[in-house]
Symmetry: C2
Subunit: 393 residues, 2 copies
């Protein structure tokens, strides 16, 4: 392992992550893990680059350092950003890229065979953006004697409790998202075009605040207005805001790949009574939910308390109301482990981090007032400090 300036964590912290992950491999009888999720690759090795659009992975065994495997032209990126020695960085030839006659995973099978893993128990992330059906077929075909085991989210689950250094980065992201929301409120007005507003959001988020420089968020800004806000995930166009418009801003600050998502909603002028009622309901229900945000409670406790209180106000929500957050790459800033919803009986622990997401998508618009929190010894701390309200300007 090589310490160098670009590493975001100490070698000890990376070693600890490897230990945890290997222990989880043992419980599933996995000899070797093929880690394709870019956030898992980065969490285990430090690797960081926009190279996930071609196949790549970290090969993790029990008895030797991880191996980075990817496209040849990206191997120097692993040298630059990870702690791996160059003999643990393997590039495949470029003719494998987006070819219809061969698949990069054909090459990986050769690598695994050279490592004498052709009869091993190999964990793969079956449910991942970066492990396609064709990737799996290639491994099945070229490693017929191996046992391919579903290891979806095995590494993600090791990430749910954050280290102090991770929390430092998430607090940096919180400073950034605070500034983003303050800037939005400052400049929003009738006549402003949505793409101009989006440009300002990007600028503020990437510039960051003092030493808290902005990295790119894993979900780009969502800022739908009016009827567009009946949908959860629309981005922007060049339409101009008008008096009376209600817009939600689902955005995140990001620092060294760590996220602090936070949504707020702004009304240009006095909002209709329905939205004031919705605001009251969401805030009250959110606080009811957050009363359960403490070690010893279950994830679903937060959600159920929220749903129940919301219903008393005459509003309904049947979709999940939050998820674990931390390090991520596009297309999702969630950790894809814990969900705040009925049935998730994960016990809450100190230093878990969530985006509590009590969004309402109504029949004529949307309302998002959300919080990112870290659990403390006996409660929670809001990561960012932005007024909890349907903001009016």
């Amino acid at each position: 392992m090589r310490q160098h300036a670009k590493l975001n964590f100490s070698l000890d912290e990376y070693a600890d992550r490897l230990d945890k992950t290997r222990a989880a491999m043992v419980t599933k009888d996995i000899d070797c893990l093929v880690v394709v999720d870019p956030s898992n690759m980065g969490w285990l090795t430090g690797y960081d680059g926009w190279s996930f659009y071609t196949h790549q992975c970290v090969i993790l065994q029990h008895d030797q350092a991880p191996i980075w495997w990817g496209r040849g032209i990206d191997a120097p990126g692993a040298v630059r950003t990870s702690y791996l020695d160059s003999d643990h960085i393997l590039g495949y030839p470029d003719y494998f890229v987006q070819s219809d006659s061969c698949h990069p995973m054909d090459h990986l099978s050769g690598v695994l065979t050279e490592l004498k893993l052709e009869q091993a128990s190999i964990g793969v992330e079956m449910e991942n953006y970066y492990f396609s059906a064709a990737a799996f077929q290639s491994l099945q075909q070229h490693l017929p004697a191996a046992r391919l085991v579903d290891a979806t989210a095995l590494v993600n689950w090791q990430r749910i409790i954050k280290s102090e250094q991770e929390l430092i980065y998430m607090r940096s992201a919180a400073r950034i998202v605070e500034k983003m929301h303050a800037h939005i409120y400052n400049i929003i007005e009738p006549g402003l075009a949505k793409h101009e507003l989006a440009a300002e959001i990007f600028y503020t988020g990437i510039k960051g605040v003092d030493e808290h420089w902005g990295d790119y968020p894993a979900i780009l800004p969502l800022l739908p207005t009016g009827m567009d806000a009946t949908a959860a995930h629309l981005t922007w166009d060049d339409s101009r805001l008008k008096a009376g418009d209600i817009t939600f801003f689902e955005i995140a600050g990001c620092h060294r790949r760590y996220h602090c998502p936070l949504s707020r909603t702004i009304s240009l002028g006095k909002p209709p009574q329905k939205y004031l009622d919705a605001e009251k309901a969401v805030l009250d229900a959110m606080h009811a939910g957050l009363e359960n945000a403490k070690p010893g409670k279950l994830c679903e406790d937060i959600a159920i308390a929220f749903y129940d209180r919301l219903e008393k106000h005459g509003f309904n929500k049947d979709n999940r109301t939050g998820y674990s957050i931390g390090m991520s790459y596009p297309p999702d800033w969630g950790e894809r482990t814990i969900s705040l919803r009925r049935g998730d009986k994960t016990e809450l622990q100190k230093n878990m981090t969530f985006h509590f997401m009590p969004a309402l998508w109504l029949d004529d618009g949307g309302l998002e007032i959300t919080e990112s929190v870290v659990l403390t010894d006996n409660g929670y701390e809001r990561l960012a400090n932005v007024e909890q309200a349907l903001l009016v300007k």
Copy 2:
């Protein structure tokens, strides 16, 4: 089909796309196509949203309008952005999202069964970011009598020749990337931090130029300096530029999801002779390649002419030197069809569009001077007009 303000193309153009795609389905004996690639979904139906982090698709049959299927909270987004009638927009319940006890594709199997397709020949995009190994397994398990056929890139291949309206959008994207490069050159100087530069690039790209408003590019800005530029896909941090630094900017303008990628390299001060030699080699070899950019030639003709000329200058490149471009979503702005490399014998045709990408990643830095082009009746047109040089400031 519903015409509305957000549609970027006429209903006739969408109808034509459906016709082309259905004809391609016939050649593969496909009754029903399950289209998960977000750019294919958008190209076929107009649908646009950052919802691809949960499973979704367009179901395309021969004898009825396409059906959008996705997460319930995203269904209103399909109403807002696609031409589909509401009875062709199907949402699945939220408990399927990122669950470890059920998979959204279990629900899709139910939908396909209701459509009496449980014994049909169903095309799936086996090699796609948005078709995981687990998604395929779910369909196999729940549709045992169906014939699942690999339809990877079937829709993408229908997109390789651009319509006039698509070219209008790509030219808008070209105006944007021209402005981005002009702005970078204006502000770059020793002392500027990389994230500040990235913030300016985002601002310029999203704000756009006049009516050419900026959409988000499918690859975010890459701007590695010095040794970091030995790698192909690093993004940025907060390090400050110094006199003598050489930085490449791999960026794209984007308008209504259509891209014009363009890379340039800037040296702060006189570059070393090696880079001047590399510049000369790349430009000469690029022009040799582009002499073959005309209908009737093959894709590999461009690449081979480039490689051969480059070698005469004493430089080598063994990775692909370009690809088809157009509409895209993260994580890749390429169309994942044509590659400019040896062995790609696709015949060039008018209105194909490429990012010709003769990048060199050397042992102490990188040089990228690229062009996005559209093929004309007897040659090519550069989409963007930015000085073809290793720029010095």
